[in-house]
């Protein structure tokens, strides 16, 4: 057995060189030219964890029997590519872990998407995990949020997700797979505008007193991710406006009730 990798060394650095509360590189890729038929897609990376989400819809339901008369049906399918992890492992589509992941994503977004606007339709979300290094659910939720916004599906708010763990008494944010197997951790998904929690999952034993600390920390971290997502969406929209000849459009007046419109002026100024 090789030398043990320290989760958090005496100098306060983690195994990948980050500090305790430092998040991994959060890279968002929204396609300007869509290569597939998807109405919206996004590729999101948290460090080495990369997830791609594609959204189709709202569109006519394939099977009439699966429709609901007053709202849209949200279907989520998750695929984990065999080459995503160190050990090449092929998971069938009926694999319980994958089904659980899909059910979690569906349950997270169903109350957030305004499904009452699209009765008898369906919205399909396909999530593909391309690389996994911890935080798969976190990355999947973030990618799905961005893909839905990219597809123009109306939602009440963003959903930002983050993992949070504790090493003896020290809290850690955004865990890699090495850290996930080592310390008790939880995944939290938050709607940043109201600060309400849509998803909390924890499978490892953790003392109740530590739990409160972790949840509050995760809440703050998700706000950071939310800010990044908003910046990326605004930049992307700004480019689209430019591509459609938007530099000649008159400035849209600032509305106080619209979330985050304060930096729209800057996006327009760049045009």
């Amino acid at each position: 057995m090789g030398s043990r990798i320290e989760t958090l060394n005496a100098g306060g650095y983690r195994s990948d060189g980050r500090r305790q509360l430092e998040l991994r590189d959060f890279i968002i890729d929204l396609p300007t030219v869509s290569s597939s038929n998807a109405d919206g897609s996004a590729v999101v990376s948290h460090g080495l964890t990369t997830v791609m989400a594609s959204v189709f819809g709202p569109r006519e339901a394939r099977l009439r029997s699966l429709t609901l008369h007053d709202r849209a049906v949200v279907n989520v399918e998750v695929g984990i590519t065999p080459f995503s992890s160190g050990e090449r492992r092929r998971r069938g589509r009926g694999d319980k872990y994958i089904l659980e992941l899909a059910a979690a994503i569906k349950a997270t977004f169903e109350p957030v998407i305004q499904i009452h606007l699209y009765p008898r339709s369906q919205i399909d979300i396909y999530v593909q995990v391309l690389e996994q290094d911890g935080g798969m659910l976190q990355a999947s939720i973030n990618a799905t949020t961005l893909a839905l916004i990219n597809a123009g599906v109306p939602m009440s708010d963003y959903v930002a997700a983050i993992t949070c763990g504790v090493f003896s008494t020290q809290p850690l944010l955004d865990l890699t797979s090495l850290e996930e197997s080592d310390v008790p951790h939880l995944t939290l998904a938050v709607m940043p505008k109201t600060g309400k929690v849509t998803l909390v999952t924890m499978e490892t034993r953790l003392h109740v007193d530590r739990f409160e600390e972790l949840v509050r920390l995760a809440l703050l971290a998700s706000k950071v991710l939310h800010a990044e997502m908003r910046t990326a969406i605004r930049a992307h929209t700004g480019e689209l406006i430019r591509a459609m000849g938007g530099s000649r459009l008159s400035r849209v007046p600032d509305r106080e009730d619209a979330p985050g419109d304060d930096d729209q002026d800057e996006a327009m100024a760049d045009a």
Binding site: A104, V197, T198, V200, M202, R205, L219
Partner: protein
Amino acid sequence: MRPPSPSIPEREFALSVLKQSLRLDGRTPLEMRMPAFRFGPELGWVECALGKTRVVAHVDAKMVKPLPERPFEGIITIHSELSPMASTEYEAGRLSEEEVLLARLLDKVLRRSDAVDKESLCILAGQRVWHLRLTLHFLADAGNILDCACLAGITALKHFRRPDVEVIGDDVTVHPPSSRAPVPLSINHTPLCLTFAFFIDPETPPILDPAQLEATLSSGSMTLAMNAQRELCVVQKAGGVPLPVDEILRLVEVGVQKVKELDVLVEAALQEDWKGRRIEVR
């Protein structure tokens, strides 16, 4: 076959009553149905009932070769299958989404939380270990079958006694229960499961241990598995109505209290049953 959705008068009545913090069966919002235990003649067989919800848990052990990557640990497997016996909404053979989630949660609470010390199940490192099989039979589902199943499972594991084994060098002798008293399993902690259901209307308080109609009308649920040492083993709130953080923390505190009470109940039931048995031959 999916049961028909509740009729409009049923739905409106139930929701308006819940808004006033009353429940259809007369419980308070955070009151759990009193669990009733029935122990079978053989050790490790327990029937747990939460109101009309009934689950039977049964543990048996056999000696096997351990997994090559874990030569010092025993193996625990949980078998559960939802059949139409539990409720007409479940179909035999087909793996529905609820069944998958139920199986995953049971796995997390009973196996992945390390309730049973796996190293104590080792007889001869690398060659012989105990393989514990926990089988759950869902007899009736009147709401909250998950909590009932976890309760039955952990009680069965605590009730079970495995045959005493003597190892001299490489020689393994299994003593039948008639010659040597069987040995209890080494339980690290007792995880107990609590499920809360939430509703869209913010004025309706969350309820503990939802009955079937309440569960159908709810728009979100949170499952907490905790032990009496104030440790959270599993937290599962997968989507549903978004909740403020303080509400979640408040429910965790409520859960801590309830788990303490449940733990006392389980211990009392086990002691009661133990008194009535004659295991040792004196």
